[in-house]
Symmetry: D2
Subunit: 403 residues, 4 copies
Amino acid sequence: MIDLFATTKVQELIPKYVTFIEEEVIPIELQLLDVSDINAHEQQLMKLREKAKIAGLWAPHLSQSHGGLGLNLVEFAQVSEVMGMTPFGHYAFNCQAPDIGNMELLEGYASNDIKSAFLAPLQEGKIRSCFSMTEPEHAGSNPKYLSTTAVKHGDYYVINGHKWFTSSADGAAFAIVMAVTNPEAESPYQRASMIVVPTTTDGFELVRNIPIMGEAGARYVSHAEVRYNNCKVPASHLIHEEGQGFMLAQQRLGPGRIHHCMRWIGICERALDLMCKRATKRKISSKEVLGDKQTIQNWIAESRTEIDAARLLVLHAAHKIEIHGSKAAKQEISSIKYYVAHVLQQVLDRAIQVHGAMGITDDLILSWWYRHERGARIYDGPDEVHKSVIARSVLKDYQTKEQ
Amino acid sequence: MIDLFATTKVQELIPKYVTFIEEEVIPIELQLLDVSDINAHEQQLMKLREKAKIAGLWAPHLSQSHGGLGLNLVEFAQVSEVMGMTPFGHYAFNCQAPDIGNMELLEGYASNDIKSAFLAPLQEGKIRSCFSMTEPEHAGSNPKYLSTTAVKHGDYYVINGHKWFTSSADGAAFAIVMAVTNPEAESPYQRASMIVVPTTTDGFELVRNIPIMGEAGARYVSHAEVRYNNCKVPASHLIHEEGQGFMLAQQRLGPGRIHHCMRWIGICERALDLMCKRATKRKISSKEVLGDKQTIQNWIAESRTEIDAARLLVLHAAHKIEIHGSKAAKQEISSIKYYVAHVLQQVLDRAIQVHGAMGITDDLILSWWYRHERGARIYDGPDEVHKSVIARSVLKDYQTKEQ
Amino acid sequence: MIDLFATTKVQELIPKYVTFIEEEVIPIELQLLDVSDINAHEQQLMKLREKAKIAGLWAPHLSQSHGGLGLNLVEFAQVSEVMGMTPFGHYAFNCQAPDIGNMELLEGYASNDIKSAFLAPLQEGKIRSCFSMTEPEHAGSNPKYLSTTAVKHGDYYVINGHKWFTSSADGAAFAIVMAVTNPEAESPYQRASMIVVPTTTDGFELVRNIPIMGEAGARYVSHAEVRYNNCKVPASHLIHEEGQGFMLAQQRLGPGRIHHCMRWIGICERALDLMCKRATKRKISSKEVLGDKQTIQNWIAESRTEIDAARLLVLHAAHKIEIHGSKAAKQEISSIKYYVAHVLQQVLDRAIQVHGAMGITDDLILSWWYRHERGARIYDGPDEVHKSVIARSVLKDYQTKEQ
Amino acid sequence: MIDLFATTKVQELIPKYVTFIEEEVIPIELQLLDVSDINAHEQQLMKLREKAKIAGLWAPHLSQSHGGLGLNLVEFAQVSEVMGMTPFGHYAFNCQAPDIGNMELLEGYASNDIKSAFLAPLQEGKIRSCFSMTEPEHAGSNPKYLSTTAVKHGDYYVINGHKWFTSSADGAAFAIVMAVTNPEAESPYQRASMIVVPTTTDGFELVRNIPIMGEAGARYVSHAEVRYNNCKVPASHLIHEEGQGFMLAQQRLGPGRIHHCMRWIGICERALDLMCKRATKRKISSKEVLGDKQTIQNWIAESRTEIDAARLLVLHAAHKIEIHGSKAAKQEISSIKYYVAHVLQQVLDRAIQVHGAMGITDDLILSWWYRHERGARIYDGPDEVHKSVIARSVLKDYQTKEQ
């Protein structure tokens, strides 16, 4: 904990989350990832959530009136790091992506009907949801490139389109779909809208769980390709207003990136912990353990420093979002998105190398992250896009000065 | 092809291998990797090998008297690059690891009985084999650390031990096992021997195919954990002499590293090819494709240069081995082992990043290599060990000068 | 300014320092570095200091009773960044190394006589001083390796030894010398002491100002090789107690590293500023400026992010020193020492590259830093040593757990 | 020596050059760089050249009819590496830039009159020359950006313009100047010409030797800013034809980059040699020398490998130029230009770090190269431009395939 950010709440809660994660989640993390028996998998998850509720740690991001702990962004960020130390950490407390982002979105912008129909059971952990934006045919980074349409017919939208990386669609109760409703809008940023589509809607087709890095996965642990074939939903399923899809996406992404980054820092801490355990235990001769080698020491030192830098950057960005809003923190958010993803990849790579052959087996959790977090430098905007955002933001001041 | 190394044979053969790989192997590479139906998998492989024989490309590394094409190391290296462009490239021509290394070993050091019983069917592609050296309890880099024992009782060795990363043991006809026969030998390098153990021997226990980066695999595409429980084999199964295990391992590893490195270069070329295809096709706006972005250009340029450097280093090392032997080329072999593995990881990482979300799916071959070649920096000696070998070799001259 | 650290004092002072640095120092920075006419050089410096006093910005690190502004470490760190933007920034306000470190040392540990004889005029900016520790014959990182001796004869110490990198000895009034007084002490860390040696002492021989990266420099801008030939000083010149040299060095280094790191961050900000100016002004075609190129954008983005990370790390370390002391912050101090030096080198390198041929000329300040801050990864402990310190500190917890 | 490239001539000559460099040049290299007494400096150089002639090693790049040794490009490249080990290596044998490039240019394209007036004394080492192309106002990478003009008036050209980085202009007998003669030419690549301008011409103004990285230097060791103020030269001073300036520049640059790259490799070998000497001699405790530390070993191993890769790349490119010409080897030339410059910077940086404080002093040659070869990533085209050249060359095949 960094005293600068450790509120009383955080100081009180962190040790509890640490205990829960260490005692209840980490020991069964490899089992939780096994989806070969879906029923067993889901029952185990349900049990875990019951324990989380009993421990009084449920839904730290939700207000107390919604059954949560009422943490603000900076506080939640610190809890998120602890949860990040194991893949189902966030799930245990119902604050996993994409549901947490959907909750925030619906809380802020949906009608009361939508809230009671979809948000309430989501907050209670009775259902799951997904977010359907990326299309295989188009570069995600360019907002003009979106083919999915939602055409209004009377009181309904009829949605047609092809999406992928609709994470956790398998078993989800509804999707929030990004679709073009106003193709004629002058600004390409005002053509799309977000609409709630129950997965039971006719024409909602889960084409497949995309095999990613060796695994198609299932249910929560999956990334679906989805087709929307003339999906008809009531017009009231629109979130906020027509043409506000990008504004909403931006709203969703600011805190979303804080969540991801702190989760990654949790992964880093876990990887460093495994690295240090191995370094002190693995004998390489009768007198020496791995940690006596200077190369290993260099990796530990660099990992320690880079993780510390990453955490300060993220918490500072969260602090800025909280005080000045996501827009004001745009540059900082892009900085952490690419920087922490980079640190994550470096630290995981070192941790694997320290474990030698064991590092690439699935006997350890490292290989799972190595595979599934290669995407960290791609999802929510690839490094390249974020660097351009930062540079343009920095250079803007100079261009203005010129005139 | 680099004219400095392109003998007539190479100039004639390379285009044929390119055609075969492009027309017969790459189009079905993702299917070949699918082991969900073992029979279908093996039949497909058998067909592929038949085509290879018909095409006159079978076993380029074997002498013509053994049914091969009689290429020397430098020639084979260049063919190996072409085969490396797809995972089953080497398999198609019966020059895949670990079998190729075992063939070289038996050819050079086994008794005639062993040759006719095990080597002949291996060369004909009728059986497969495996190599059992690494132990989970010990750092592979330290020769003093080997617990498997082979105790002589009359005309037999009784072998006990625990190995892992015995690649392709599943379905193999025999293993070459590294075991301590002479625990009292003064030099720790003269305590172990290599012994042929048929997998049908009582006490040969294939504990599991180790799940690696998301897949346990099967048959050829697997890495087994094996226990030797009082495995009794005739004393004539000893390869060469007692206490010569490490000498043999060194012999085996020199050319073996050339094979791996050239295979990795093949992977790099394939990855660069996919990168360039994507860069010229993927639109990011109505006017621009990915390849117009300078960052993508940097990656292509760096990949092109690094691959060229890698190839020259490897072929030069192969050339040196051929002229002066593996021992004289020890430093060069360590250089290419770590350097090419590094280039491989860099190029694969860039290729994935250029493909965005698609890059992490299993719809492309890239993710398979990303996962299964993370081990390239570990197997056959981790980077760290090779760097020490190089440094000590370089510094030796200076220490001598001192005296 | 980062609100987390911006006290009222800082908020009030920073803009004043920025104005002074931008208006009074930067415009003449290249002239200030010119020591070809020593008198002119020194007069210019004197004038600058007078302006600093008039502006009410003199000696921010000193208590108000000593004529300063009474800033604590975290506050001073932030001011130090501003001063760091130009080579004579700290000098203008009398808080330049090595004098600031010597002031802290004498303030904390010298006798009252020493204070009035040496500290008072130093604080007033009437004299300069130097610090004489490193020896050419020995690795600075190893405390057992120190040949300079101070032998007590009655009321005097007689000092003999050979030092280099005694920065700013040329023109200094006194040196603080690290010398072995207790060669028999059990711990090698308790053999040396610090002693004040006026440069007018017989036997004090300034051998040369060492040419460094193309310049020997002179006066404040120089790094001397010094011989102590039977230098006789009163025993009362001992600082603190005999055998406490290393303890004092550690005391001196904690805050000293904060000072250096924040100065480097100031250099980074200046370099990034020059980079951005060049990027927006330099045309590379009729339509494009350098800043339109993605590679340049990447460098700007990476520099911005790394500098932000560095600043947070340093201020957090300063905050920890202030609350818990240098010893408790040992790991953090080693982290910033190597990390910020690395960022510094990266950012300077990029800034030079952005300027093309101009970047390597002395028409800009960049080349001066490029040369004179290559030492940043060496002085006050090379990267390698700091990484070992961090690793050992991290691993200590694991070793303890073991038992 | 690499046997693939070691012709009989090379095998015979290399040891002689090594001996000369080690015995005659390296021992006085720091003195040779000292230009504080110009006369002494030049006399020392003259003596060195006399020795080179006596040793039968003069002008290896020139044909025997011109007093040289008649080496081809690949042979000369290997000699160039040896000479590169010390700053005045090439100078000793009259094959230093920019004179060697000018010799090649005049040999290939100048009229016989120009040859006898300017080339002959240059080949004999009686005069020096310079090459005047880069302009401070324009990015060197863009051929449209050239302001210097040569306007024809009868039998004369009148040249006006502002150049910098006209290396070694101080003391040179003539400059080859790049100037726009055909501003109306359709292609921007056909507007400029190269013209010989004696430095005694009225209006030739050597504004200054530009201070670079701390030194303005003098004579051969300098980089001038030059103004051409109505410089009138006979029309016969035109080299080749009007509008052929860029073609000539390209011709000049191909082999020129081989020369630079091999010289850099010589620097790298020297730096690695110093690194190894230090590593084996510098004690860090009673039992350990620097070279026992794994970090130092890593640097040595990486340097060894990278230098080997660099050498193979360069010699292979030289080989390609010789067989297929500079144009066919364009991609390879760009690869080596950026790659070897990068290796150079890495190796020098490591060598300095291994030497600690001594590494940044001018007591060793390392700091001179560290400063004066920072330009290697800029002159003759910055890294960024070369990477674009490579990428466009690679991608061209894919774009063609498309159609």
